[in-house]
């Protein structure tokens, strides 16, 4: 059933789903256990109240977060959104303050990530203060509104990605840290990696990240519906206060404001510098970003060094062994928590097996002579894994993760001599277009592919076409429509966002192609 759409959010520049995509999305709705509502129960559990309206503004009034813009996410998926992604987005778009256990609270849906508040004897320990000052301050305000005006006594960064430290100035000041009233706790080496990741290649990263998270994309059934991991990123003020306490060793314990914390180092997993930790007083486990409700990335599409696909599984096994039996609830800095020891162990094992399977099978097939692109099409998940919602590729995908694992071990070259020194893209495209018989002919062939619902081939042909003549209106129009179809069918939120921003020639959308 198509839901009514708020008029001001309609992404009018986009066309409808083709019949093929309508059918494909309908078959997804039949394929997976949509009547399994456990995730919805967990995502709603402990709800204490939302920020209303769900909008956060910068000092000058500029909107940096508008969760209400996702209000269209309810009920059944429209034909222009993969029902599995629609389900995930419906869960991820929930906004508010939630009790994890009595004494631990999370604000979710106020940025890409979650912020967690752990209450101590005199104040509160803040874990992962979101991306920007504005959203972190708003989240702290919401927490205090419900839990009283507790002072922040410590901030923990779980890892070196900006959505886990960038909003620290929303919950702490330099003066408080200098005075020793707020401790900043992080895994050793975080600052160096945060700088390396965000500064050295920052321009490329933010350019690509703007595609990946769809922050500037119109929201709606024919636009952005979420990035799978969180809804999108917040474009506010980013900061970093350097740690006053660095964690170096698995098994290390510290008592902060009367609360004992037991640490497990997990370097080289989802981030180069990352750690998990456990609160014995609350029987609660924080898994940072290593066990979430999605297949995560081995190589994020915004670009990064390929993550080690092997150690990630190993640290999950270690977490199960170390904490599993004494954990009543596990939470992470994205998505909703999981309660009860056996369900926590099930989630961690499923995630571990998922990453282990992709790694081991990629290497097995690589040793049989398959290339990354071939393996990406060959691997299917074991039925027991595929039936778990948290293995679905909402943020990472099986396809691009397998290629990343290949890249990690083998590099970009697949050993085929013809692929060692081809022409660069524009030169190659000009030759392809000429060989095929000119622009009109290649667009004609792309139209045939489009009509046959071979959108991948149509996109390849049209890529050559627009690289040869970006002003050819037929090519651009069909290219935009082709990528829209791929977006509408995609289960992956970041793929959907990447497919979208190709404007047409007819005045709808920006006037230049993405470069």
């Amino acid at each position: 059933m198509k839901r009514p759409q708020p008029a001001h959010r309609l992404a009018l520049q986009f066309g409808p789903a083709s019949q093929h995509i309508v059918d494909a999305n309908a078959s997804v709705a039949k394929k997976y256990p949509f009547d399994d509502r456990k995730d919805f129960d967990d995502a709603d559990r402990g709800f204490l109240g939302a920020l209303e309206p769900g909008v956060v503004r910068a000092a000058g009034g500029r909107v940096v977060w508008d969760n209400d813009s996702y209000a269209f996410l309810s009920g059944d998926a429209p034909s222009t959104v993969n029902p599995s992604l629609w389900r995930q987005s419906t869960l991820v778009a929930k906004q508010g303050l939630y009790e994890v256990v009595e004494g631990i609270y999370q604000v979710r849906g106020m940025d890409l990530s979650n912020i967690t508040f752990i209450e101590g004897d005199t104040g509160v320990i803040v874990t992962d203060p979101l991306i920007c000052t504005e959203t972190a301050a708003a989240a702290l305000g919401l927490y205090r509104h419900h839990r009283g005006d507790r002072p922040v006594v410590a901030v923990i960064y779980t890892h070196s990605h900006v959505d886990h430290f960038g909003g620290v100035f929303g919950v702490a000041t330099h003066a408080e840290v200098d005075a020793g009233t707020i401790q900043i706790i992080a895994p050793e080496g975080l600052v160096e990696h945060a700088v390396a990741g965000n500064v050295y290649v920052g321009t490329l990263m933010s350019r690509r990240a703007s595609y990946m998270y769809g922050a500037a994309l119109e929201r709606g059934p024919q636009g952005a519906v979420g990035a799978g991991l969180g809804q999108t990123t917040s474009p506010g003020e980013i900061g970093l206060i350097v740690p006053t306490l660095e964690i170096t060793t698995t098994g290390e314990k510290h008592t902060i404001d009367g609360i004992e914390i037991e640490f497990q180092m997990a370097p080289g997993t989802e981030a180069p510098i990352e750690m998990h930790f456990y609160f014995p007083d609350y029987r609660a486990l924080c898994m940072a970003e290593n066990a979430t409700h999605t297949l995560h990335n081995r190589l994020t599409l915004r670009g990064a060094i390929v993550r080690d696909p092997h150690v990630w599984s190993g640290y999950l096994t270690e977490a199960i062994e170390t904490f599993g039996d004494r954990t009543d609830v596990a939470f992470a800095s994205h998505h909703w928590p999981t309660w009860r020891s056996h369900r926590v162990i099930e989630l961690l094992s499923t995630q571990r097996d998922l990453y282990g399977y992709l790694h081991d099978q990629t290497l097995r097939l690589l040793n049989q002579g398959c290339t990354g692109a071939e393996i990406a099409e060959l691997i299917t998940l074991p039925p027991a894994l595929e039936s778990a919602w948290n293995t679905h590729g909402y943020y990472g995908s099986g396809s691009h993760n397998v290629k990343a694992i290949y890249q990690r071990y083998r590099g970009w070259f697949d050993g085929n001599p013809a692929r060692l020194w081809p022409h660069p893209p524009a030169e190659l495209s000009r030759r392809y277009v000429e060989a095929i018989g000119g622009m009109d002919r290649i667009v004609e062939l792309a139209q045939v592919a489009h009509d046959d619902a071979d959108f991948r081939w149509a996109a390849t042909l049209l890529d050559h076409a627009v690289f040869t003549d970006e002003k050819h209106s037929g090519a651009r129009e069909l290219y935009a429509d082709t990528l829209e179809q791929l977006a509408y069918g995609s289960e992956n939120g970041t793929w959907r966002n990447f497919f979208f921003p190709v404007p047409r020639s007819c005045g709808r959308g920006p006037s230049v192609l993405p470069r």
Binding site: T317, E321, D353, H359, D360, Q361, L363, N367, Q368, P382
Partner: protein, 149 residues
Amino acid sequence: MLAQLTPAQQFDAIAISVNGPKAWSLDLAFDVRFTDNAGDANYRLTLRNGVLVYIGRPADDTAAASIGLTKMRMLQLLGGDTESPGLDITGDASALRTLMGVLDAGDPDFNIVSPDDSSKPKRTPDQVRLTRMAVSTSRTIRHLYVVRA
């Protein structure tokens, strides 16, 4: 050189040769003990969802089989040899054969300039040889190659 070959590296070598689809309905657990290892540490190996997982943990009675062997005998086992002496198995010996039955070797002669899939034969475990494993790209496997060389 042998001293450098850790149990983890040996288990990794098994893990990346598990044929996922063949193995994904199996649920096996083993205790493995290196008899020439200082401290005689035990490892729990499990195969579930087509994934071989290992962790250092004391043996208990939840494993299908408990296997004691030397590092060198482990290398032979990786080569598919379940018959030679030196394998001290208690419990269900057929569980080990079941595991060996879902391992694929690498193919040192695979096609590169043509996509002909028929040149990528599926090998049976007894064809697995350590020299073949040397074509693997994994750092852990390169160790095996060094050891052999």
